[in-house]
């Protein structure tokens, strides 16, 4: 009798527990569901009276792939993809290089450099935006993807801390042994430490790949010719919410948001394990 009661109690707590999680998940998903629903709405403005659209349609998605002067989604997607890929390569290299140098190697300027990095990270990036713009302008790189990529990747070395934390967990003895065997530092870096650090590499790759999809402030500043076909996804979608456009493009904006989120979600799903390991490996020891 008693055992059964306990079991009942256990089952009921389990049910309660899972119901609680379910409720939380629903709260977290409401806006996402709204996003998806709205993207299938026939009405093009903001629906303010009902949660679900009154009439369903896939017109928004069709329109996204049939560019007009405002919405050139496929082109934006390509632009962003290219920027993201190049940025991803450069940023990942920079982050890993700095992390390796500061974590594994020992040299006189190591501590001062790390302190300077901490200080630099405290400056709000928004502030230096206008100055960065004029620096790019001197090199004639405004209004170009090269300029945009530079803005995203040039200072990426400053975000090395988590990767450094991860490299710190690589056993010192291994590196020492390799050095005694006559391996150059470059070989230790490329052939030993990097392959051992897959989670952090994945983490860095995802982060740097995502930046151009999320940023609209710098992109708007640098791609300032106003030519729609040169936008990245973020600026293009953001501009759809302009006062004069929002009533015709709000649902397309939602559809665009969904289309951007799908590949990112898939990326997360596949890489989730590495991502968690990377970030915690870094944070724990960082």
């Amino acid at each position: 009798m008693k055992i059964k009661k306990m079991k009942d109690k256990r089952t009921s707590t389990i049910v309660m527990h899972n119901v609680l999680i379910g409720i939380l998940a629903v709260i977290w998903l409401i806006p996402i569901v709204w996003l998806v629903c709205t993207s299938f709405s026939e009405y093009t403005g903001i629906n303010t009276s009902t949660f679900f659209p009154q009439k369903w349609s896939i017109a928004n998605y069709i329109k996204l792939f049939h560019p007009d002067t405002v919405a050139q989604f496929p082109q934006w997607f390509m632009n962003t993809f290219i920027v993201a890929c190049v940025n991803c390569v450069i940023s990942t290299l920079f982050v890993l290089m700095v992390a390796y140098a500061t974590s594994i190697m020992r040299f006189p300027m190591r501590k001062p450099l790390m302190n300077i990095a901490v200080i630099l990270n405290l400056f709000p990036g928004m502030l230096s935006m206008i100055a960065v713009y004029f620096v790019l302008k001197t090199f004639n790189l405004t209004n170009s993807y090269a300029g945009l990529i530079m803005v995203y990747s040039a200072s990426s070395g400053l975000g090395y801390l988590i990767a450094k934390g991860f490299f710190d967990t690589v056993p010192r003895a291994l590196c020492e042994a390799a050095r005694i065997d006559g391996c150059s530092e470059a070989r230790i870096f490329l052939q030993m430490v990097i392959p051992m650090s897959r989670p952090i590499v994945v983490y860095t790759v995802i982060n740097s790949f995502l930046a151009p999809w999320m940023d609209f402030v710098f992109a708007k500043m640098i791609l300032n010719a106003g030519v729609s076909s040169k936008y990245t996804v973020a600026i293009g979608l953001y501009k759809m919410l302009d006062k004069s456009l929002i009533n015709d493009y709000f649902t397309q904006f939602c559809a665009g948001g969904v289309l951007v989120s799908i590949p990112i979600s898939i990326l997360f799903m596949i890489m989730q394990k590495f991502y968690v390991e990377g970030i915690t490996g870094g944070a724990v020891k960082g």
Binding site: P31, T50, M105, M126, S155, L237, C254, V276
Partner: protein, 486 residues
């Protein structure tokens, strides 16, 4: 522990100065004791290397020297002499019908003078460091020859860069990037804080000039409604700190609780649930936040629902709401709370991922023994889980706080074009109750071109962040990590 930390900090500082001192004393010895070729290297950087048959190096150094000289003569000389006045010649133009073009006089652009002077200073600083280093290494060559040691060939030198000196190979590009895209812009804006660069003095048509500390005085002087920067600054700073505190704490604790919930043995399909939360990270913030903003708009869907279920009426009755909608994001108080709540929605899944990883590493034996002692779940949480989390993620907590001080996206996307202040004093300096220092300075630069005040605010933000980080690291976190939990 704090003392220990401080002493290491002191060591680091003194070590730094020792290194600098050594740097110059080496240079002194080289100049004093070097032979004629070493001394010649003072003028011709490549001279010493030729003597010791390092021809490639000699060429490289000579080219470098030539580049610096050419740079100084043809580039820097146009700008650096005007650094003191930031330019005197205003732009004038005459239309030429034959070429169909406007022809300009040779006008000064204050901003370019500032930027290029700064650029020249940086180049010269680097050149001086190279020059001094160069003397040192040439002198070393001399000593090596005197002692009959082997002098490296160029190839051997190059090999060093993937061996002992690999850090130089690794760091040079990232450091260059940081110098050009972070340090120069920051220095530039530090300079701008001491000029009158605003809408009345905008290059290329107008000039700006140095004004000393008057912008700082404007910020802290305050007084009266017409000069409300001081007043607004205090308000905005206050909300910035409140926001940073609550947004950091709520997402941090929320993340831990959620991850405990998800990782509990009672959870069915933990991976599925985790994914549900992670999806919210995958939607770009400018999409999800703009959406949420429309969700809670004055005539938005939530308000429609609230008035349908008579919640709005109820709130009106008890006096919480005076309008016929709930001003979720359009009235002070309401907006402040909503922003923090929405930020929980944004931030918790991310913190949950971190917490999940950290909690996986929590020492099992401690939990087991606590359970054996009959500790309640809450006690375990308060006595073991939280201290462990705090210990491990403490530094991250500090950086999160600093990041939230500068959290532009959430505030800007939720309040821009939606929130209107009714506080006239704030409005007179283009601030709002819900502004953080960064969003305020963003508006000052984007809509009002008030670069001088934005720079001043930026410097103040930096000082606040730096002070906080310093204090936090020294007193709150203090201590050695490799201690207790390994």
């Amino acid at each position: 522990m704090a003392n220990e930390k401080k002493s290491t900090a002191a060591e680091a500082v003194s070590g730094f100065f020792k290194a600098v001192g050594g740097f110059f004393s080496n240079f002194g010895t080289a100049v004093a004791k070097g032979n004629i070729f070493v001394k010649l290297s003072l003028l011709w950087w490549g001279a010493g290397y030729i003597r010791y048959k390092q021809y490639v190096k000699a060429v490289i150094m000579t080219v470098l020297e030539a580049a610096v000289i050419l740079f100084s003569v043809f580039f820097a000389s146009q700008y650096v002499p005007k650094f003191g006045s930031l330019g005197t010649v205003k732009a004038e133009m005459v239309f030429n019908i034959d070429t169909m073009k406007n022809e300009f006089n040779d006008y000064d652009n204050s901003f370019m003078i500032l930027l290029f002077s700064l650029f020249s200073f940086v180049v010269w600083l680097v050149a001086i460091v190279i020059w001094i280093k160069n003397m040192d290494s040439v002198y070393k060559l001399q000593l090596m020859e005197e002692n009959g040691e082997h002098i490296n060939t160029f190839q051997e030198d190059m090999k060093l860069y993937i061996g002992e000196k690999f850090h130089i190979t690794l760091l040079s590009l990232p450091v260059l990037g940081v110098v050009v895209f972070t340090i120069i812009p920051i220095l530039l804006l530090v300079f701008v804080a001491f000029t009158n660069y605003d809408q009345q003095h905008m290059p290329p048509s107008e000039l700006f000039t140095w004004v000393g500390f008057s912008n700082f005085i404007t910020l802290f002087g305050g007084g009266g409604l017409t000069a409300t920067f001081g007043y607004s600054f205090v308000r905005v700073l206050g909300w910035t700190l409140v926001w940073a505190f609550f947004s950091t704490i709520t997402t941090y604790i929320g993340g831990i609780l959620l991850s405990l919930l998800l990782n509990s043995a009672k959870t069915r399909f933990p991976k599925f649930w985790r994914l549900m939360f992670v999806i919210t990270i995958a939607v770009p913030q400018f999409v999800s936040l703009l959406l949420v903003r429309n969700f809670f708009a004055d005539n938005g869907i939530v308000n429609t629902i609230c008035s349908n279920i008579h919640l709005t009426g109820f709130l009106q009755d008890i006096g919480l709401v005076s309008t016929n909608h709930i001003p979720f994001l359009s009235a002070p108080g309401w907006a402040h709370v909503m922003i923090i709540i929405i930020n929980i929605w944004v931030g918790v899944p991310y913190q949950m991922l971190i917490a999940t990883g950290v909690l996986m590493n929590i020492p099992e034996d401690q939990l087991e023994s606590a359970k054996m002692d009959g500790a309640k779940p809450f006690q375990i949480f308060a006595k073991i889980t939280m201290p462990y989390m705090l210990f491990i993620t403490g530094p991250a907590l500090v950086t999160d706080f600093v990041k939230n001080i500068n959290n532009f996206n959430v505030i800007y996307l939720l309040t821009q074009d939606v929130y209107t202040t009714t506080n006239q004093a704030l409005a007179n300096s283009q601030a709002q109750e819900v502004d953080l220092l960064v969003t305020w300075l963003f508006r000052l630069t984007q809509d009002y071109y008030n670069y001088k005040m934005a720079s001043v605010i930026g410097i103040v933000v930096f000082i606040i962040c730096a002070l906080f980080t310093l204090v936090a690291f020294n007193y709150m976190i203090g201590g050695d990590k490799e201690g207790t939990y390994q």
